[in-house]
Symmetry: D5
Subunit: 92 residues, 10 copies
Amino acid sequence: MLFHVRMDVSVPHDMDPDARADLLAREKARAEEIQRSGKWPQLWRVVGEYANISIFDVDSTDELHDLLSSLPLFGFMRIKVTPLAHHPSKVD
Amino acid sequence: MLFHVRMDVSVPHDMDPDARADLLAREKARAEEIQRSGKWPQLWRVVGEYANISIFDVDSTDELHDLLSSLPLFGFMRIKVTPLAHHPSKVD
Amino acid sequence: MLFHVRMDVSVPHDMDPDARADLLAREKARAEEIQRSGKWPQLWRVVGEYANISIFDVDSTDELHDLLSSLPLFGFMRIKVTPLAHHPSKVD
Amino acid sequence: MLFHVRMDVSVPHDMDPDARADLLAREKARAEEIQRSGKWPQLWRVVGEYANISIFDVDSTDELHDLLSSLPLFGFMRIKVTPLAHHPSKVD
Amino acid sequence: MLFHVRMDVSVPHDMDPDARADLLAREKARAEEIQRSGKWPQLWRVVGEYANISIFDVDSTDELHDLLSSLPLFGFMRIKVTPLAHHPSKVD
Amino acid sequence: MLFHVRMDVSVPHDMDPDARADLLAREKARAEEIQRSGKWPQLWRVVGEYANISIFDVDSTDELHDLLSSLPLFGFMRIKVTPLAHHPSKVD
Amino acid sequence: MLFHVRMDVSVPHDMDPDARADLLAREKARAEEIQRSGKWPQLWRVVGEYANISIFDVDSTDELHDLLSSLPLFGFMRIKVTPLAHHPSKVD
Amino acid sequence: MLFHVRMDVSVPHDMDPDARADLLAREKARAEEIQRSGKWPQLWRVVGEYANISIFDVDSTDELHDLLSSLPLFGFMRIKVTPLAHHPSKVD
Amino acid sequence: MLFHVRMDVSVPHDMDPDARADLLAREKARAEEIQRSGKWPQLWRVVGEYANISIFDVDSTDELHDLLSSLPLFGFMRIKVTPLAHHPSKVD
Amino acid sequence: MLFHVRMDVSVPHDMDPDARADLLAREKARAEEIQRSGKWPQLWRVVGEYANISIFDVDSTDELHDLLSSLPLFGFMRIKVTPLAHHPSKVD
């Protein structure tokens, strides 16, 4: 079951540089871990923005919220989730 | 080169039923044709809306506009294009 | 799996009165049918508006889209779907 | 009498961790207390957001405001209240 | 129990003049009837707009929706309801 | 001459508690003073929000701005003023 | 007492050309009549839009609404009124 | 003196096809005429939309409004004008 | 050549009081200086807001930007510029 | 391939003045460097705002994101990218 997710990141400018570097390193590691599980099949950068557009493939809305809130940047992102369905004109 | 495209369809309620059926049949045929060319790799229905979210893979912005404006529903859609780039945390 | 759905209805003023009455009767019948199936456990009127706020309980996003698009008023509604998850402070 | 309430939480990132933990613990306790009184029958997490959608069942608007403003997080939330009424197509 | 209501009227320009005059006469009669019942204590015109801001005094949200939807212009208005509570600095 | 005023309050979380208490006490005193003068006949709390909806009765727009900007919270509020006129369907 | 008024005009494309010409002629005549009375001291076209920005100088909000609603185009305009006050840095 | 102009076109679907073709031909001719005068140095299509982004080079705001309102599509476009100035980091 | 300018001021609450007083004094002095030059013929306070609506009369967009950015409060204001043209119904 | 880019700058007021001066100097140097490469052919100031409107000429969306994110002010700007295509009425 697919969900479209847009994440806009906003990290405070006055965060301690080491804390920031650590936060971003943990975010990257966790993002890669979820991708390797197959639950996050698509991830793109929005050109010109500190934001991404992603597709998640999960079994339930609870699982999706658990994945998103497990991201170290969760408290620093505005996230918008849009449920997707099969399109009748999709060519497989 | 990838572009994220959202299309919201709005066909007038008072369109002649035959004209409408013809329009939608031609839209479906053209959408399948573009998909088969490899230029429209992803196409999803937005749940609860007469709308889709798509990914286009094109060589230029001119090509993208030509493809979108070749859709028979083009004059009946609100289309929003967002350019995408490679994400540094993407696992290939 | 729960989804929050808001539907805002907009039927053209110049629709033939009989066609309108028929449309609304079929909408009511289909809405009751879905509710009896257990897939639409909550349905409220928004005060002062021709709109409702609903909770759907479905197995997948495809099922949700099929249910919503089976409503006779589907083409006359603006629908907004919000996925819901379990809340950690919920008292059962 | 039912009201639909959406609460979006925004706690400052630089709040002292102990003060934050205490605030959240008191919020949880108060939220559970109100739920047990029967005044807050539904509470869901919005997927991907630090937000909830709730249904309150109260005798008056004054009572609703007293309940909402008694939440320890009240000063850190954007709250939007929508009055609900019985829907004529609701199956009981 | 008080509710703040804003109503924005939009009657189609091509409505038959007699039908329009009849509609507006019935609206005025019903609005005066509700006011005389004491349920609609305040009614103001928004300067420069075909809109009003009103205060309703009702016993329940169901009663408020019944009153608003009984207005002949109901299908031609965008209505926004805001629940009000006692203000702690109000001087009686 | 009546004006509809909505005030949304936003006091910084890190304000010194004593300064905050003093500010709010002075706001309450000034609000009561203006109400007693007859210039601020209606004042309601918006349910669930740190906001009020008010009616001011003044002789001029200059007088209204002087009253609003004399409130100790003026620098901490977003204020929206809407001019009101007599409504032709108002029952006196 | 000054008010800032923005008027955005939207006349239906399918209005009968003679009716339209008559409407616009009456609008122009009435606009000039109000200006000559001294109540409408400023009137500018917004570049690129079928809209104007105006300053009205009236004795009351009732008078302002009477003037605006006396315009033949009143039913075809979206009007936004903003009350103005003396500015303390204004050089006279 | 440069102005940034965005024009969004919206021609009614039920316009007579010949009238539409004539309108668009006259629009194209007038657009080319203005461009040849040097007053409209840049004109781009917005990808996926029936819209353009343009740069106009004019001597005054009156001249700009005269040019824009001389376009046959003027009554069918939403136009947004943004004044531009020299940028201090511009490399000539 | 006239431009409509709205300026919304937002000075941080925690600015040093002396720095603030100095900033506002310099703003007032510069605003009066520009007005005396004839380039800023109209300046009004928006009722209830720390904002003004102004008319500037300049020879070019570069001159307008130079004037606005010379204001000491420039970095603390959100400014919106709207180009104005002669209105055909203006009575001189 | 052309892209329309709007950048709105927002540098915190409490940034150290030397750090700010250094940041702006590096931004200017980098902006000039990109312009000299031919990738940033147009750059204008938006009148009255700390913002620019630009045209970028790049070979891919990845290249555009690399250029924009190489700007020292990247973390302090809200950037909006709009893809452009050839306009059929463009006079070359």
